[in-house]
């Protein structure tokens, strides 16, 4: 069962490698005719010239490649194994999408080129926009946001602009207590006060509490459906009605869209604004923290507020439309994370309507299957079990009471089994939470192995406690001292700071 061992290189920092005079790449030299105009230095203001070259490493390509290949062996991606992070949708990234994103026609085009020379890019963006609108049940899509949270910021700015244009002062945005942290953070960035509504015993938002906070101060409600407990908000139509009756807007956090592709659409549920995480639902790689893309879809009445430019088609050619007088403006330079959009485009073509529907069906099947298995493991419970969608939340509270082993220990011990831990301690409303999302790209065998690993760890909690409490053992380093990492005396965020600390420690 075990036997996973991660590479363990005592890899120095790049600053600790190399020798003076080494270099990793050759650059062209200025040609004779170019040099002949004279020394550029004589034209430059002396006070703005760099005195010493930057203190960067001096290494050859050989050393560079070895350094990074070794570092890569000390990292874990979904190409290595199971990565059941809840609400992250770590599904497999098809390699054909990768290959297409690496075409010259993607890499080597500039956003300000004459439009006639980038019709391919504009066509791809236009079509992707319309497909995303179809998938989400919205009417107009902007591909501008660089990530889901960026899309949320756009969405809350749209709410702000919408109410302002109608002459209404609405300062509150409502979120459930199970919301992703980005929801309240985005609302606050757009200048709103955040009002939190509790979750009921059945895992759904408390309707009475929601009713009591909805008012003419409400700009909108932000929900994800299914929510972060993996439970589908079955009162969603009623919720939409309630919010709209108060004059508010309904926002859909697309993090959990993988549960309902081809089965239901946020637009049909009453959502006015939807963001989509291409790096989740549409299988673009996570890159260790990006780049992603967070397109935003809106219903017709909000199209005028979308960020500029939008991609349009006049029957003959594609063009960028900046003529949206009520647009919220821009939230990043240019048009969107195009390289990421290409992957999503290729993915949708590969899957088609049928494939996307199957993806959700199997994602939900995998999650329910695994939830059932996990609920049968002594010490673990699935508080909002029954029927879940693409993810579920387990709790290790019982295990903690019985053995003292907590979720954080289970998470670290799972690493020794060659799987990545699920999301832990989220959502906040479940104690000792493990938020598990297998996705549809995991095989039955893999899911069974994960359940066995959890089961094994629970047994170890009773019979081999030290192994669990001191995990991880098989990773490239043991448990890290996160207190020291953040402590004012030892906080070191760069090579510079590290050297300064050493100086003060040496006295």
């Amino acid at each position: 069962m075990k036997g996973y061992t991660q590479a363990r290189w005592p890899e120095p920092l790049i600053f600790e490698l190399g020798r003076s005079g080494r270099s990793g790449v050759t650059l062209p030299k200025a040609e004779e005719a170019v040099k002949a105009i004279g020394d550029w230095r004589s034209l430059a203001p002396k006070n703005m010239l760099r005195a010493e070259p930057p203190d960067l490493p001096e290494v050859t390509e050989v050393e560079v490649v070895r350094h990074y290949v070794r570092l890569s062996q000390m990292s874990y991606g979904v190409d290595l194994g199971f990565y059941p992070l809840g609400s992250c949708t770590m599904k497999y990234n098809p390699k054909v999408c990768e290959a297409l994103a690496n075409l010259d026609q993607v890499h080597w085009i500039h956003p300000y080129q004459e439009e006639e020379t980038v019709q391919g890019a504009l066509e791809l963006m236009y079509k992707l926009s319309s497909w995303l609108a179809e998938i989400t049940g919205t009417d107009a899509v902007s591909l501008q946001p660089a990530a889901g949270a960026h899309g949320e910021f756009v969405g809350t700015l749209i709410m702000r602009a919408y109410h302002k244009l109608r002459g209404e002062t609405r300062i509150e945005i409502i979120v459930p207590d199970s919301a992703h942290g980005t929801n309240p953070a985005s609302a606050a960035m757009a200048g709103f006060k955040v009002v939190v509504v509790p979750t009921r015993g059945d895992g759904c938002i408390d309707m009475e509490a929601l009713k009591s906070v909805l008012s003419n101060r409400t700009a909108g409600l932000m929900l994800t459906n299914p929510n972060t407990l993996g439970v589908f908000e079955k009162d969603i139509v009623e919720i939409a009605k309630m919010v709209h009756e108060q004059g508010g807007l309904l926002y859909y956090d697309g993090a959990n869209l993988n549960a309902i592709l081809g089965k239901a659409r946020p637009g049909d549920m009453g959502f006015d604004i939807v963001h989509i995480n291409l790096h989740k639902t549409f299988s673009t790689p996570h890159g260790g923290g990006g780049p992603g893309a967070g397109p935003i879809g809106v219903k017709k009445h909000l199209e005028e507020f979308l960020p500029v430019p939008l991609v349009r088609y006049d029957g003959k050619k594609y063009y960028l439309d900046y003529d949206l007088p009520h647009s919220i403006g821009k939230v990043r330079a240019f048009y969107g994370n195009f390289e990421v959009l290409v992957r999503a485009f290729a993915y949708i073509l590969s899957m088609g309507a049928e494939g996307l529907r199957k993806a959700s069906e199997v994602a939900v099947l995998n999650a329910n299957y695994l939830a059932r298995k996990v609920s049968r493991i002594e010490g673990l419970t699935v508080p909002y079990g029954g029927l879940v969608k693409h993810e579920f939340v387990a709790s290790a509270s019982k295990l903690k009471s019985a053995t003292g082993v907590e979720t954080k220990h289970v998470a670290k011990r799972l690493l020794d089994y060659g799987v990545h831990a699920p999301t832990v301690y989220f959502p906040l409303i479940v104690g000792e939470a493990l938020m598990i999302e297998p996705t549809e790209t995991e095989a039955l065998e893999e899911i069974d192995r994960f359940a066995e690993a959890l089961s094994s760890i629970v047994n170890e909690a009773r019979e081999k406690r030290e192994a669990v409490l001191n995990a991880p053992h098989s990773t490239s380093v043991g448990l890290l001292d996160e207190v020291k990492a953040s402590h004012p005396k030892t906080l070191s965020l760069s090579w510079r700071m590290m050297r300064k600390r050493l100086k003060t420690l040496r006295g």
Binding site: E482, V483, A485, S486, H487, P488, K489
Partner: protein
């Protein structure tokens, strides 16, 4: 007194948000967070101290303590003006874990409504009962 292994000095006043207040000479009030609070937070790695000279109202947030994964606001047990803050905490936030009622003090406040404020706080035994209840719930 003690509840399980939670220290609750008899001569202090307490709030339900787990702050303590000690009335010292010349009527100033020293405040901090309780042993229960520091146990809940685990290792404290940062203290957001109030600025000297600011005015606070009772139960208004005047700073925060942070562990690696959590932030907890510190609410002032009394109204008044902050006359001193414990600068030691900037470099040694762990003092709150080591000695929450002594070296881990957070601020010194010149109260402006002491009698009424103290009446609204808990005594040591009231706080002990409160902590007992919380521990049972866990």
């Amino acid at each position: 007194m003690k509840v399980d292994d939670v220290n609750i000095p008899d001569d202090l006043y307490y709030s339900r948000e787990h702050e303590w207040a000690r009335v010292e000479g010349e009527g100033v009030v020293r405040i901090g967070v309780t042993d229960y609070a520091q146990k809940m937070l685990h290792e404290i790695v940062f203290v957001n101290l109030p600025k000297e000279g600011v005015s606070v109202k009772q139960m208004e947030a005047l700073g925060a303590v942070e562990s690696v994964k959590a932030v907890s606001d510190v609410y002032s047990p009394v109204s008044g003006r902050v006359v001193a803050v414990n600068q030691e905490l900037l470099n040694s936030p762990e003092l709150i874990n080591q000695d929450p009622y002594g070296k881990g003090w957070i601020a010194l406040i010149q109260p402006d409504n002491l009698k009424d404020d103290l009446a609204r706080l808990l005594t040591a035994s009231q706080y002990a009962d409160y902590v007992k209840r919380l521990l049972k719930e866990k």
